[in-house]
Amino acid sequence: MNYLISFLIGGLLCIPAQILLDKTKLTNARILTLYVVVGVILGGIGVYKPIADFASTGATIPLTGFGYTLSKGVKEAVESEGFIGIIKGGLIATSTGISFTLFVALLTSLFCKSHTK
């Protein structure tokens, strides 16, 4: 059941991006950015939390989940530390993902070459 929910929600979250890709001239980078910002907004107004609780990986692995984590981090930091939390909270909550991606990318670049297509 967990798998099915993750599949359905994860898949559904990809569809708006595909429509934007096909129907507009928006580039990948813009769509990724849009998704993260939308994630922050949805997380902020409290819509994303129930989805994330329900769908687990289906909602946290898509980039809206990244935005949700940012907003959640800020919210928690503001609650516990006050004003400084506004600045601190977002990156602390997402630091694992960002640091790990950068590190792995650097490692990969040491061992791999580009291939022609």
């Binding site: 890709l21 001239k25 990948n28 580009s114 291939h115 022609t116 297509k117």
Partner: protein, 332 residues
């Protein structure tokens, strides 16, 4: 009117050579090319060096085929797509031939032949070489995304050809004569979609073809083939419609280098090929063979170029385009 049709006396295309990559060699024109490489790195460590190596190999083949030494060549005209034409500059540094670097995007091949012809016709040179190249991996990186990036291609985007073509242009008589040329004007229809370069270039091609036939010395049916540079499938069919709208009916075979080089059904190609190497290798390989075997007698080849750079595309500016035409003939 500044519609000067350049007519040349005694300018000949003595020899050509072409080097292509794996995908181009797997295409329908494979037997027409002199050399190909399965290795996209051409034995080098970066794609930029690979492109230079490809040009170097190509020039060596040309010198060998034409039995010339670099010292016999008066001028080299050449260019490519890598920032500031470095691929060609690195490639020819060791030959020590006077060099004129050119940039006309995909039209560079024709541009180089025209410049060489003018030098020869004016008596300033006996033997000139025109050489251009493009490499899928360097172009992709510069204009689009990294190769391993899962980017999405739209149905109108063209595939940069990995190829180089070289031409030996001389006043020594040979079968193929470079009869005349028409230099293009910038045409800008304010197309901003860098994934639809065919549509931007189609009007430049139409403009040049129309001006070519304006003085009434030639008719379209005098040519066996009229071939546009690399408009691809999309741009070529736009050019055909635009020519009809302009009232110029092409009564002969009308094709496009970007369509000839790949097999659309078998290879994963969206809208055809593009790049400096596309016209260069198709002309140096395919059409040179047809002309020298007397399969065709008159060829009008129109090299088209989309003169955008990455900054102009990002800042939402349009794509200025150009097309240059040359008339190659085996008749006196």
């Amino acid at each position: 009117m500044n519609n000067n049709h350049l007519y040349f006396n005694n300018v000949f295309l003595n020899n050509t050579s072409s080097v292509v990559g794996k995908k181009e060699f797997e295409g329908p024109l494979s037997s027409a090319f002199d050399l190909y490489s399965n290795d996209e790195y051409f034995g080098k460590s970066s794609f930029e060096e690979a492109e230079s190596e490809m040009v170097r190999q190509n020039l060596n083949v040309l010198f060998k085929k034409a039995q010339k030494l670099p010292t016999d060549i008066d001028y080299v005209f050449g260019g490519d797509l890598v920032n500031q034409c470095v691929a060609t500059s690195f490639a020819i540094e060791n030959y020590q031939i006077p060099f004129i670097g050119l940039y006309g995007a995909c039209s560079t091949a024709i541009e180089s032949i025209i410049c060489a012809s003018v030098f020869i016709n004016g008596g300033f040179a006996k033997n000139c070489v025109g050489v251009t190249s493009s490499h899928f991996c360097t172009a992709e990186r510069q204009y689009r995304f990294p190769l391993e990036y899962g980017s999405v291609r739209t149905p109108t985007s063209q595939n940069t050809v990995t190829a180089s073509g070289a031409f030996l242009i001389s006043n020594t008589p040979s079968i193929i004569r470079i009869k005349s040329a028409m230099i293009g004007k910038i045409v800008d229809k304010e197309i901003t979609d860098a994934n639809n370069m065919g549509a931007a270039m189609a009007c430049a091609a139409t403009n040049t073809i129309k001006r070519f036939f304006e003085d009434g010395n030639m008719k379209t049916e005098d040519f066996d083939v009229i071939c546009t540079g690399d408009l691809g499938y999309e741009g070529h069919s736009i050019a055909r419609e635009m020519l009809n709208l302009e009232g110029l009916d092409i009564k002969t075979e009308f094709t496009d280098c970007g369509m000839l080089i790949y097999d659309k059904n078998k290879q994963d190609i969206v809208a055809g090929g593009s790049g400096c190497g596309c016209v260069a290798s198709v002309l140096a390989g395919h059409f040179y063979k047809l002309l020298s075997n007397n399969k065709i007698k008159n060829l009008l080849i129109v090299g088209t170029g989309a003169l955008l750079n990455t900054n102009s595309a990002l800042s939402g500016r349009s794509i200025p385009s150009i097309a240059h035409a040359i008339h190659l003939s085996t008749e006196a």
